[in-house]
Subunit: 386 residues, 2 copies
């Protein structure tokens, strides 16, 4: 279950013919209320796709009736004509749902630089509206229709004891990185939460989930996370409890993104603790996450802590080599300025690897989720124009 | 010809048994004067190997009699014992050359975290001193003894019309990146140049050569470039002419490093022009150089400009998407906010690829040299603890 789990939501996912090959490529998520509060966070990339520019604009109202999502085309770097295409998409969906275009966000993912085939998309919207349902299957169809190189749908449903729930789906397999984790995600909730609260909760949740996934440093032109609240449960949650539940749902999705990222043979959690400032901890973890020499060593199940030391040493953050400790899978290999255990004592043969760096300077910690750099990553990204 | 090209220098490169397998692994370069001016630039990594700490210290005098270099062990992350090993190396070389240890720089390259086998290195120094010669072969032997995963020696010799010359060698195949291009290099000159002038010239030359090579972002723990001046030509060059000639010699070495970097099937020059500030141009070029999605596309000979647009959009620099132009191998694929030519018109099948980004905001330009991300890179770096 995902976006159709919480009360008040319907979804659909169909094959509109945007992708060649007949796979599902158009999704629609509709909030039937009674409330229509919404919030969004978007890519920090300066090159923003048309749907990002559009959705940022409509989100200023902190209200959404619906979200249209397509795969097969990012509609990025497509000039004013590309923006017109996004606008026409929102207009058509709004007309079909008897609302205003300002209530419709649009998300696109796929190849950058190509115009979107509107002759497929617009008729597809008619079909999608007719297929809208609040079922588990329709939520899965929507989650499936946004996939690109992903191998499976990624969904979450969290039901809180106080009577509200949060559901969501996400897509993302490549271009996965800082400040929005290069992907699309739609989350829904039947809690009674106004737009400003939603916005604060979504920013807080993203900061420690979507923003902490870093597969290849590639913040995309299209990254978008949207959160829609119907209020249909009638439950007005404690703000801290709501944020915690939302963070848990986002974390589910980020774990699924990490596990399914392009060519990954290893999932790697990089925790930096003992920092004075959170920014330092995140910067160090992110640099290790993006370092190709660390990533290829992990692909080879090689606890090559020297490369981890090299990577963290190039970060503009406070480090004292004498205090520094580096551990892989629980075995501390570097401490006191030198090797403390032989690398052969750390077994990295499992699919999951934990890297822990302890700076011993303060009490702040942060974790960034990443993957290895494998032959399959090279193969997929050299052969596929995406 | 390399370091033994300029008058006043002798070199040797021998197999001391630091590496297993019997390859050359210990090099010595000696300045017989009459002058012994010297300068050095070093890694910006906060985790510095023992030989870097030592050489930075002795270089404060701006004078060197000799440089000892070894491959097979980086002597990095080896604690105070590692520093003692470097010190003992300099002491032994100084004794054999009848000088003080403060006149001997040390450079090491190889695996991080392992102690250097001094029982091989110290006797090797005796042999190296006996084999010192000013011949072409001895220069090549020294250039060969510093190699790790490099497939060939990298040398340069520049002879200036005014009567002085500059020679040099470099090693580096992986961990090649910003702010010292992760490698070792020794340059020699018979020009009459004092230490302060040498230092200024070396910093200026490095800034646009060694600092502009970026293969994988991996600034190493050991990066060192040393420049020794014997004054044996008796020629006191114009400072600007000397810097230009030195820059040319450094550029020769950087081109050779680019061409021989681990697993490279493409050499890629990324030029960013039309910038307001040089820092912006370099930051954008470097981000494109390090982007795995760009690098894998280049491996696939795919002119996927959308990935270049994505990469540059994540840089903290001024960009106007409407003004931006992106060209690969001379074909402008993106202009005016949208695709300007079909990507099939740009042929990237040759080994060398030029990426040119024109920001159209100012008149500053910078070029960063890089390579693609290939299966061979993944293979070499997942199988080799380095």
């Amino acid at each position: 279950m995902s976006v159709t789990g919480p009360a008040g939501f319907r979804a659909a996912g169909i094959a509109a013919g945007i992708k060649s090959g007949g796979a599902r490529d158009l999704a629609l998520v509709v909030n039937d209320g009674p409330e229509q509060a919404a919030a969004g966070v978007f890519t920090t990339n300066k090159v923003k796709a048309a749907p990002v520019l559009w959705s940022q604009q409509v989100l200023q109202e902190r209200s959404l009736r619906a979200v249209v999502l397509n795969s097969g085309c990012a509609n990025a770097c497509t000039g004013p004509e590309g923006f017109q295409d996004t606008h026409a998409t929102a207009e058509r969906a709004a007309e079909l749902l008897d609302t205003g275009a300002i209530g419709v966000a649009v998300c696109s993912t796929g190849l950058i630089g190509e115009r979107i085939p509107m002759q497929a998309l617009l008729p597809g919207l008619d079909v999608a509206v007719q297929q809208l349902e609040g079922t588990e299957q329709s939520g899965l169809d929507a989650a499936t229709a946004v996939l690109t190189t992903d191998t499976r749908a990624k969904q979450s449903l969290r039901e809180h004891g106080s009577g509200f729930s949060i559901g969501g789906f996400a897509k993302g397999a490549g271009m996965l990185a800082p400040n929005m984790a290069t992907m699309l995600s739609v989350l829904t909730t039947d809690a009674l939460v106004d737009g400003d609260q939603l916005d604060a909760a979504l920013r807080a949740a993203s900061r420690t989930t979507f923003d902490r996934l870093d597969v290849d440093g590639g913040t995309s032109t299209n990254d978008t996370v949207l959160l829609l609240a119907s209020g249909a449960s009638g439950v007005r949650p404690d703000p801290a409890e709501f944020t915690a539940e939302l963070t848990a749902a986002c974390h589910d999705l980020v774990r699924a993104l990490q596990d399914d990222s392009e060519g990954a043979t290893k999932t790697i959690d990089i925790t930096v603790r003992g920092a004075v400032r959170e920014d330092d901890a995140v910067a160090i973890a992110r640099t290790i996450a993006e370092d190709n020499l660390v990533k290829t060593a992990m692909f080879g199940s090689d606890p090559n802590w020297g490369r981890i030391a090299m990577a963290l040493g190039r970060v503009d953050a406070e480090i004292d080599v004498q205090q520094l400790e580096i551990a892989t899978n629980g075995v501390t290999l570097f401490a006191g300025g030198t090797q403390s255990r032989d690398r052969s004592e750390a077994d990295l043969s499992d699919r999951h690897i934990d890297i822990v760096v302890d700076l011993h300077l303060g009490d702040v910690e942060a974790t960034v989720l990443s993957t290895d750099l494998s032959h399959a990553y090279v193969e997929e990204n050299s052969a596929y124009s995406s």
